[in-house]
């Protein structure tokens, strides 16, 4: 841990960027034209390529003479048209920063005026791809506090890095209504030191256990297929490709995504920057955080490693951000002590003393009855599978003894897994409640400890099934506004009345004024 003091005093620093006046008008960097064209080049190329082959098939004589020229002419025409459209849109788009809102005006055939009130902006992020880095530009992404468009930013504007930083600093000043432009200093030290090894470990271990197991099984199955099958490598290649896409690609993407990770807090704003090839700089107000989550899949937990992320709406930092990267990571894989220190330094609003309760003793009954029902369903499916294998003509000559042994072994493992999961779940799943926050701990395999504020709960649903109702137990589903639009967080089995009291508290806080909407603007 370092830099806490520096981060704390950063908001007091003198403004580094010139203030934007109301009559100042901005135009995006010309590289925006190239970005616009590049986005459509690939699709145009694929379309023209398929057109080329279709006319080749249609008539050989014409195809031999003209198909290449026709295709090239079409491609160049499309490219020319796209360049003109992109140029025209760039030339005719202006941005103004008024007293209370920013306005983007596009004066083309399709006229468009976008107004965004500063008070509605959830975050301003900067994203630099390869082209941006070559041209010293960056893409400024502005997100509003809405689940409707949570997957992509409301505005993506390309400026030179200097202009982009100046606008972002000025926006922060307007959004947070303080007289000092909040610091976004490249030299501000990170609250937590994240080494390259930490990032690699995070990439390798932060994948959900299920996808990691699937990837590993597919990889070895693919290798086995390629060794044992002579001449036919298709199934082996398919299995290895599945392994690549389910585990290897996400791991590599994650390592690149979180390289050079840095986080600090200045005043009420959290600043995060990371990225190797494409760089990301995100900033958001602490009051926009709906929940904070400590996560630990199975393998990292065995080596006592955890990660910390937050649910914040309107944080899209890239047009093609994948869903797993949307919740801002507050700390990559670290030991529990470091995670708790980072939590205290970055989001002390979500740190509170709480006595966590295990699921009551009666919860064992619905848990085990559910396990028994699922075991029966699985056993029935296994029997049907065995029965099919016995009756298939292709399996003649294969010893049914092996198949029966495999089916029985897999069934036994699954059934044992279901019951072990039940035993562990009774012991692990917890619920805790404080004055203005509450916490759900779930996950026997991939553990999640989610701390939520009552003031951020949008909807609460208490569900009691036929197995839990007789014991007065229920499960709770909390709906929050989140970075992926909306998200439900489920509890384990607890006393139904106790879970009902969550929504009672949410309503009571609104009613008696403890919930103050101005705190979250």
């Amino acid at each position: 841990m370092n830099g806490e003091d520096e981060a704390g005093s950063a908001s007091e620093a003198a403004p580094r960027f010139e203030r934007i006046t109301a009559d100042e008008e901005f135009t995006q960097h010309p590289i925006k034209v190239v970005e616009g064209v590049l986005q459509s080049v690939f699709i145009s190329a694929v379309m023209v390529f398929s057109f080329y082959f279709s006319i080749m098939d249609a008539d050989k004589e014409i195809a031999e003479k003209y198909s290449l020229y026709i295709s090239l002419a079409i491609f160049i025409s499309i490219l020319g048209a796209m360049t003109w459209v992109s140029y025209w849109r760039w030339r005719r788009t202006t941005i103004r920063f008024g007293e209370n809102e920013l306005t983007v005006f596009r004066d083309t055939v399709f006229k468009k005026q976008t107004r965004i009130a500063y008070s509605k902006i959830a975050s301003t992020n900067v994203n630099c791809g390869i082209i941006n880095r070559m041209t010293d530009t960056s893409r400024l992404m502005i997100n509003i506090n809405s689940s409707v468009n949570a997957f992509s930013p409301e505005l993506t504007l390309t400026f030179s890095t200097e202009v982009s930083d100046r606008i972002r600093a000025n926006l922060s000043q307007k959004m947070y209504k303080n007289n000092v432009i909040p610091a976004d200093e490249p030299d501000t030290p990170s609250i937590v030191t994240i080494t390259k090894a930490d990032v690699v470990l995070h990439g390798l271990l932060s994948q959900p256990t299920a996808s990691a197991i699937f990837g590993i099984i597919m990889f070895f199955f693919g290798i086995y297929q390629m060794i044992t099958t002579t001449g036919d490598f298709v199934s082996g290649i398919v299995a290895i490709t599945l392994a690549l896409f389910s585990y290897v690609v996400p791991v590599v993407a994650m390592i690149f995504h979180y390289s050079n990770y840095k986080i600090y807090r200045a005043g009420d704003t959290i600043y995060i920057s990371h990225g190797f090839i494409r760089t990301y700089r995100k900033s958001f107000k602490v009051s926009k955080i709906n929940a904070v989550r400590i996560r630990s899949p199975l393998v990292p937990r065995l080596i006592k490693r955890y990660m910390l992320d937050a649910e914040v709406v309107g944080l899209a930092a890239s047009d093609g951000d994948n869903s797993s990267n949307r919740s801002p990571l507050l700390c990559p894989m670290k030991d529990r002590g470091t995670i708790e220190k980072v939590m205290s330094a970055i989001v002390p609003e979500f740190v509170y003393d709480v006595e966590m309760k295990n699921q009551p003793r009666e919860a064992a009954k619905p848990i085990f009855i559910r396990a028994a029902i699922w075991s029966l369903v699985f056993a029935a499916a296994a029997f049907l599978f065995y029965d099919t294998m016995v009756n298939l003509p292709e399996t003649e000559g294969i010893s049914m003894g092996y198949i029966a042994a495999a089916v029985i072994s897999v069934s036994a493992v699954v059934v044992a897994g279901l019951f072990v999961n039940g035993v562990m779940s009774r012991r692990i799943v917890q619920y805790g409640r404080g004055e203005d926050k509450f916490t759900f701990l779930v996950g026997v395999v991939d553990r999640k400890i989610t701390t939520m504020s009552f003031d951020k709960v949008q909807m609460a649903e208490v569900e009691g099934g036929p197995l839990s109702r007789p014991y007065g137990l229920a499960r709770c589903k909390i709906s929050l506004l989140s970075s992926i639009g909306s998200q439900n967080i489920r509890s384990g089995y607890f006393d139904a009345e106790e879970l009902e009291s969550i929504s009672e508290e949410v309503v009571a806080r609104i009613k008696d004024g403890r919930y103050d909407y101005r705190k979250y603007l």
Binding site: L384, E461, G464, E500, V507
Partner: protein, 176 residues
């Protein structure tokens, strides 16, 4: 909540309200649910028949498969046949000054609470079946998800949407 309390929550007085002031659905909502379920069952039957007929062309479907399919089909059909009656008997909703409460379910009973302060959007929707029975659904959108009060009489649905809308506008006016 004890077992007795849990069963009492569904009892209705002569005014059509539960002891804690919940409303029940109109009786004709059962008809709407049944027509919907009949359509689902018809589609399901067609799918089962097509899958069975198609598979039979290529190989002798084992008797265990036929039995499994028949059991699954019978369970779904029984659920669709009995579901509307249970759903109707258990469906309760209540709207007071601060919250919208909805209790519903067939096997799993859920109790949803939406603080009115969190409501972003209201919608009254009528599908062709509900239209036939002069019923409508009120869909309540919050920033974190959607809740709906289903099978309401049209004037009741309109009134709920109007009153909630007025309440929300009032909150927003006070904040300006």
């Amino acid at each position: 909540m004890t077992r007795d309390e849990m069963s009492n929550e569904f009892k209705v007085d002569e005014n059509g309200l539960t002891t804690d002031g919940y409303h029940v659905l109109p009786r004709r909502s059962v008809g709407s649910m049944y027509i919907g379920n009949v359509i689902i069952l018809a589609i399901l039957s067609a799918i089962v028949y097509v899958v069975y007929a198609y598979s039979s062309q290529y190989y002798e479907v084992p008797s265990t498969y036929k039995l499994a399919m028949l059991i699954a089909y019978a369970l779904v059909a029984a659920y669709l046949a009995l579901g509307p009656l249970v759903y109707y008997a258990r469906y309760r909703y209540r709207i007071d000054g601060d919250r919208i409460d909805i209790r519903k379910g067939i096997l799993v009973i859920s109790h949803t609470v939406v603080p009115i302060e969190r409501v972003h959007q209201l919608e009254v929707a009528r599908g062709p079946i509900n239209n036939l029975f002069r019923l409508a659904d009120v869909t309540i959108t919050t920033a974190g998800g959607i809740a709906s009060i289903q099978y309401l009489e049209i004037p009741v649905a309109e009134e709920i949407a109007d009153s909630l809308n007025a309440y929300i506008n009032d909150i927003l006016r006070k904040r300006e």
